[in-house]
């Protein structure tokens, strides 16, 4: 890569554009996977039990970095992902994680105080009735979160639903956007 840059074959701008494209494509894959799981219970079950093999039906390349673990959020359980040993993430499938995923302060704080970290660092305040569960990804199983489908989205198409899925919601430091929050973002 460095040689290609030095020789002028690749410019830094081209490289940055490609990085952004890959990151965007990955996160969009994640959004499509989540949206399909919201509308298709059979797909959701396959995703939860067979992991990355299930995504082939969306024409998404399943990747090959170990096993894909999918942690489903429910009314009683909120999942959040970290990799304290390094920065393992299903990036072959979902693109790059958010920048702070590699940050030591995130890694240390989220395991010691999951609920407090979500509240204070990510402004995600969960009621005491919801268990917060941290998944420490240690390379063999790469975890993603399946966020809950937001209320007020009955009858939405898969494509519309996918636009509510953010990269943070795939890590579990946010919930999927509400229709109101999404409309605000679009403006």
């Amino acid at each position: 890569m460095r040689a290609l840059l030095d020789k002028g074959v690749l410019t830094k701008e081209q490289l940055e554009r490609q990085r952004a494209f890959l990151a965007g494509r990955g996160a969009w894959n994640g959004a499509r996977i989540v949206a399909r799981a919201w509308v298709d219970p059979v797909f959701k079950q396959a995703l939860l039990t067979r992991g990355r093999e299930a995504v082939r039906e969306l024409n998404i390349p399943p990747g090959r970095l170990g096993k894909l673990g999918v942690a489903e959020n429910t009314a009683a359980l909120h999942n959040v992902v970290v990799c304290t040993l390094c920065s393992c993430y299903p990036h072959d499938l979902l693109g790059d994680p958010p920048w702070w995923y590699r940050d030591d302060s995130y890694k240390q704080r989220v395991v010691q105080d999951p609920r407090g970290t979500l509240a204070h660092r990510f402004n995600l305040r969960l009621p005491d009735s919801v268990e917060v569960r941290v998944h420490d990804s240690t390379s063999d199983v790469r975890w993603m979160v399946l966020p809950r489908r937001p209320a007020g989205t009955d009858g939405w198409s898969e494509e519309e639903l996918a636009r509510l899925v953010t990269i943070d919601s795939l890590v579990g430091t946010a919930e999927a956007l509400t229709p109101a929050a999404h409309a605000h973002d679009e403006r």
Partner: protein, 95 residues
């Protein structure tokens, strides 16, 4: 992908304790759970992972720990950590 459950020594629901020592040089267990007790919640088999490991590692389990067991305090939250079986012992046994 994961091998079938048959090769696992532990079962879902088993109470386990994470060893303090580093068995056969396998480093992939976070320091904060060493010596801590948890419950096996999922079996993943022995995962072929040539990009990250030299050779084949033992079968992998997801083990659930209460945050308060690991770090003290009164938290009701939990930590799910994926651990190779060479790091695990039955919770009753000394390690």
């Amino acid at each position: 992908m994961g091998a079938p459950e048959a090769r696992h020594h532990f079962h879902v629901g088993d109470r386990v304790r994470v060893k303090h020592a580093n068995p056969s040089g396998n480093p992939r267990t976070p320091a904060y759970v060493r010596g801590k007790r948890g419950i096996v919640t999922a079996l993943h088999g022995s995962i072929d992972n040539p990009l990250d490991h030299r050779g084949v590692y033992p079968p992998l389990c997801s083990v659930l720990f209460p945050v308060r067991e690991v770090f003290g305090g009164t938290s009701q939250d939990t930590l799910s950590v994926d651990l190779h079986e060479d790091w695990l012992a039955p919770a009753e046994a000394a390690c």
